[in-house]
């Protein structure tokens, strides 16, 4: 299997990096403790590199650890993650020289929530899930069923334009092309835009009534690296910790504006929300707004200025009196 070969190369590369002391840490993925789950592996030990894996479930955006791990890091990235790293370099949070980036061209990852919905079974009730080109083969109770990959990949994988890492030191595998079903991945946002503003606001009011302010969305995001988040500010207190829908909505709206131009639509925020809030319908729209207004895509050029600290002498101001 293609993945197996990439895995072997990755393990070899990571081991060598540690052996030659070119890095202090390796950050990658290893098998998780639940079915069809992987978990971050952050290690200084060469022996641990034998546990590194590459499979359709390597969902975490590992660049979130780069702002806390000290020393030189060898990190495994997919397309979206590599852009998060570039974004962090633009913000001066990490130095390019402190990284050895091992890029993995990504064919898109499997969204277990979609699989569970399709089959009416939870992930631990499935026997096996494998990706075979543009098909996904799922075995349940000994029986196999095939699905087109586009039905079970994450929405953000479906709209991904850059599945091959943008910035890397070593590329493990052949560059890959977008899975390309942009319309499917944008379905929710289009639906929302067809609603009248009041209806849209009601939708968000409803979504954020479920929010319990666990801050999973914020903590999993590599672009949210503030030592003190604005929600933790008590003088002045912008938002109470109390999860009232008004404040939950305010929190998420401002979080999105704060990460504008740095969010690469890796989709982690929506995946991790325990209350199933449609967060990507906000993050993706911000991504589109930034692209439309300023022709800017997050994380493409490590020498560029971050979006909100840059400007052109003439740019959109038709809304200004």
């Amino acid at each position: 299997m293609e993945n197996k070969k990439i895995e072997q190369k990755l393990r070899q590369e990571a081991k060598t990096l540690l052996q030659q002391r070119r890095v202090d840490y390796i950050i990658g993925y290893e098998m998780g403790s639940l079915k069809f789950t992987t978990t971050p592996l952050i290690t200084k030990s060469e022996n641990d590199t034998d546990r590194l894996v590459v499979n359709p479930f390597i969902v975490n955006n590992l660049s979130v650890y780069l702002t806390e791990v000290k020393g030189k890091v060898g990190i495994v990235v997919k397309g979206c993650d590599s852009r998060s790293i570039v974004s962090l370099i633009q913000d001066n949070k990490i130095a390019r020289e402190a990284l050895v980036i091992m890029g993995i061209p990504c064919p898109g990852l499997i969204d277990l929530k979609k699989v569970e919905l399709l089959l009416g079974k939870d992930r631990d009730e499935l026997d096996n899930i494998t990706r075979d080109g543009d098909k996904v083969v799922i075995m349940v109770d000994g029986k196999e069923s095939n699905f087109p990959a586009t039905e079970v990949l994450f929405d953000n994988c479906l709209v991904c334009e850059f599945p091959t890492p943008q910035e890397y030191d070593v590329l493990l595998g052949e560059p890959t092309f977008p899975v390309g079903d942009i319309t499917a991945g944008q379905a929710k946002i289009r639906q929302l835009k067809e609603m009248a503003p009041q209806q849209r606001w009601e939708f968000w009011k409803n979504e954020f009534s479920r929010c319990i302010r666990c801050y999973a969305c914020r903590n999993v995001c590599p672009a949210c690296f503030c030592q003190k988040c604005f929600v933790e500010e008590s003088e002045p207190q912008w938002v109470l910790p109390t999860p009232k829908w008004q404040d939950n909505l305010l929190f998420q709206a401002i979080r999105n504006i704060h990460v504008a131009g740095r969010c690469t639509d890796c989709g982690e925020c929506e995946r991790v929300c325990p209350m199933n809030i449609s967060l990507r319908s906000l993050t993706r729209e911000m991504y589109e707004i930034v692209g439309e207004l300023f022709q800017y895509k997050a994380g493409m050029d490590k020498n560029a200025l971050p979006l909100l600290t840059a400007y052109e002498s003439t740019e959109v101001e038709d809304f200004i009196r």
Binding site: P40, V69, Y215, E232, P241, T242, V272, P274, N276
Partner: protein, 342 residues
Amino acid sequence: MINNKKINKRDIGNLLNEWSQEFTVFVPLRESGVAMLSKWDGKDTGFMDWHRNTVQPIKANFFPPMEEMFSFQKGKEGYHIELPSSDEHKQLIFGIRPCDARALIILDMTFKDLYEDPYYLPKRNNMVLIGLGCTNPYDSCFCTSLGINPGESADVDLMLTDMGDQFLIEEITEVGKELIAKASRVEEATEADEAEAREVKEASYNKVTRKIDTEGIKEKLLSCFEDQDFWEKVSTKCISCGICTFLCPTCYCFDINDELVRRQGTRFRSWDSCAFPVYTKMPMENPRLEKWRRVRQKVCHKFEFYPMNFDIIACVGCGRCIRQCLVNWDITQTLNSLPTRV
């Protein structure tokens, strides 16, 4: 001889309607893809076809994510304080799992020990729990290691066992007995029913494959408390969000805040988490600034401090923390790999 009862699943709707006269009935519902105990709409009994535990834990019904404590207004003579109107309706929770039922016993210890919590207790004392034995535990469940049987519970008022078309009903408390005595379409269980129920319970018990060794766990944790290397290694991938603590049925930490507008305001309490970096922040210092300290505290609170002080492990093995953790941090892996110093 204990004579248990039974009821056919198609009569449950009727039974719940009868109980609705006296109680507000809560059942496990999946709304917007999130399973939680919500008010029953009075009609749909489709929830019985779903055999797993909820995402939001039972504590949310007695200790909600956000609760108004009182409102206040500043007048000329001082402050005028108003308590929130109490919900007179008693709650009937249908379908609580043995792990969550045990969790309530552990939560009770906080809310009615030295201080009786006037928000939690009225709800808790006025409610009825109808337990439901698990037939399809998750692979993340590990209740059996904590002395909890997924098929049995002494912490509920009535205990139901799912036998396909019908439920076996065991009366656990006097309250449960009374409830069932007045209920219609409840029959006596036969020997065959009892035997079948026993099989179902045993099968459920055996389906729980995840295990931890709780033998001497508090001593083990005590001995490795200072092992910074171990705790740093174990905690590296945690990203300090609050999911595990918020969804844990035995976690009880809360924060109190006032929402002020000019001369009036409301005091709220809301869930707080020891995983947050600012949880122990104080003017002079933050004793748990480093992540490894917070992770250590979370594990030790449940498996060392509680046993030391109250002779009970503050965990019921529901597995929510494992299922929902964004990075698949697994407490059972940590507990099973504690460095033991001989």
